[in-house]
Amino acid sequence: MAQVAERLTAPAGRSSLSRSEIVAFVLMVGVLVIAPAFVYPLFLMKALCFAIFACAFNLLIGYVGLLSFGHALFFGWASYLSAHAAKVWGLPPELAILTGMAAACGLGIVAGALAIRRQGIYFAMVTLALAQMMYLVAVRAPFTHGEDGIQAVPRGVLFGVFDLSNAMTMYFVVLAVFLVTFLLIYRIINSPFGEVLKAIRENEPRAISLGYRTDRYKLMAFVLSATISGLAGALKAIVFQLASLTDVNWPMSGEVVLMTLVGGLGTVFGPVVGAFTIIAMQNYLAEFGQWVTIIQGTIFVACVLLFRRGIVGEIAHFFRIRL
């Protein structure tokens, strides 16, 4: 992962916004504000939820160098918990989403504490195995309703003011959540904490010798990533009024890896571009059924062999800018 990131760190003014990032951000906000006039809002909301998910995942792989193959665990369980909270407990959407995030945070603490005991490839296998375990629990637990999932989740009224059953209101709430999360993650990776994370990614023994308790930093990053993934899952459950086994199963963990890889590991905008690319692809190729899996596999192979920087990474590299 290291060689991807090195080229992206500008020599001066690291912690302040670069001009290219400001331009890209304004462009992104502009496109997303006018997009619902042209594109089906439900599609945009789905892509935005996955963009949050991929950004959270990227926080871990792009900035700490940890490849988690079990992020569906946090995404899926948060979506179950928030759907359950909204439907059965009758909580308003903001509290339902917080419930989901709290669940993801708790799971993140446990899974993270176990997984960071092993490095590299083992880390990926441990996270995958833990996620599979909790998937099997979800299959059996009565409140998840097995194959049916939790259906007809009420969207409710946000803060008692915004009626989310209106598609446009829902869209702009999702957009606002996305933008706040995006800026939060940007702030995290450019904070002193984020610099330590990057130091761990580049050379963990060196970071340890400088006196950093790297395990604590790694766990902290893992829990942050898990909680934000939970936010994405919870939001998706409210938007689609559904929580199902698909969201908690291992192909979902693979999908978020693919989105981040396609967009560009360790780039700020990469996961967003990747999420929109993959969701659009799934949308337009849905009629081809099984071919979607084959195409996704092919993209994986192509990305690893031919363009490891991803879409945004290649653009940034070509123009020698930070994105």
Partner: protein, 295 residues
Amino acid sequence: MFELLGIPPQALFGQLLLGLINGSFYALLSLGLAVIFGMLNIINFAHGAQYMMGAFTAFLLFNWLGIGYWGALILAPILVGITGVIIERLFLQRLYQLDHLYGLLLTFGLALIIEGIFRNLYGSSGLQYAMPDILRGGYNLGFMFLPTYRAWVIVFSLVVCLSVWFVIERTRLGAYLRAATENPTLVRAFGINVPRMVTLTYGFGVGLAALAGVMAAPIYNVSPQMGADLIIVVFAVVVIGGMGSIMGAIVTGFSLGIVEGLTKVFFPEASNTVIFVIMAIVLLLRPAGLFGRRA
């Protein structure tokens, strides 16, 4: 539920047998993963897909060419092994200079492609594969009924595992392999073709997965997704055992199969999660794995 006397011996030994069968597959697959990881430093995510390919190859050999079980037992690992050699030459070879994680991502993509192709061609429902006549029936041991085929699977996979161990730990070829794992540059300087050895090692590990697939074909349905869930359990087995030792992989595979079988008797709700729970406990107590070397 926890009292031993409350369980009829039929059920106890029956589950123990099923556990040993699963254990045979865990052992064969984790052995292949360990051999591949030792030489290539890559975790072969496509291992489950290649196990499935082995089962399908047996199925197709019979339906297209009329080649039965015994022929498939030899041909399928070779054919699937050749696809492994091609994959290594075409793709994996380009990744050795990069972070190990890219190998995982690439083989994950390959697994998606392979499974997608088979699902396209044969649908998701399982296909039946006939058992050879000699291995039908079984023995009544008094305390339990032992189906011949299951006994064969356990004995044969044990033999395969121990032969692999013998070749790697006790022969000259194995010594080259172990030396190349430790220091490829030095072994190359002695005039041994290490890249070819790496290619063949991958082909061999893949062949082992296919062999397990052929053995599984008569017991389980042959279906495109048969490897996907299994490989995740095998990953947990590998984390528990650590990939440093061949014998470790074999012992861990078989014993976890037995533990899983026993859990099915005494605490059925936990039977499919018990291996993951053991993994979590091992991570807490011995982070490097039971047979692992500290990094």
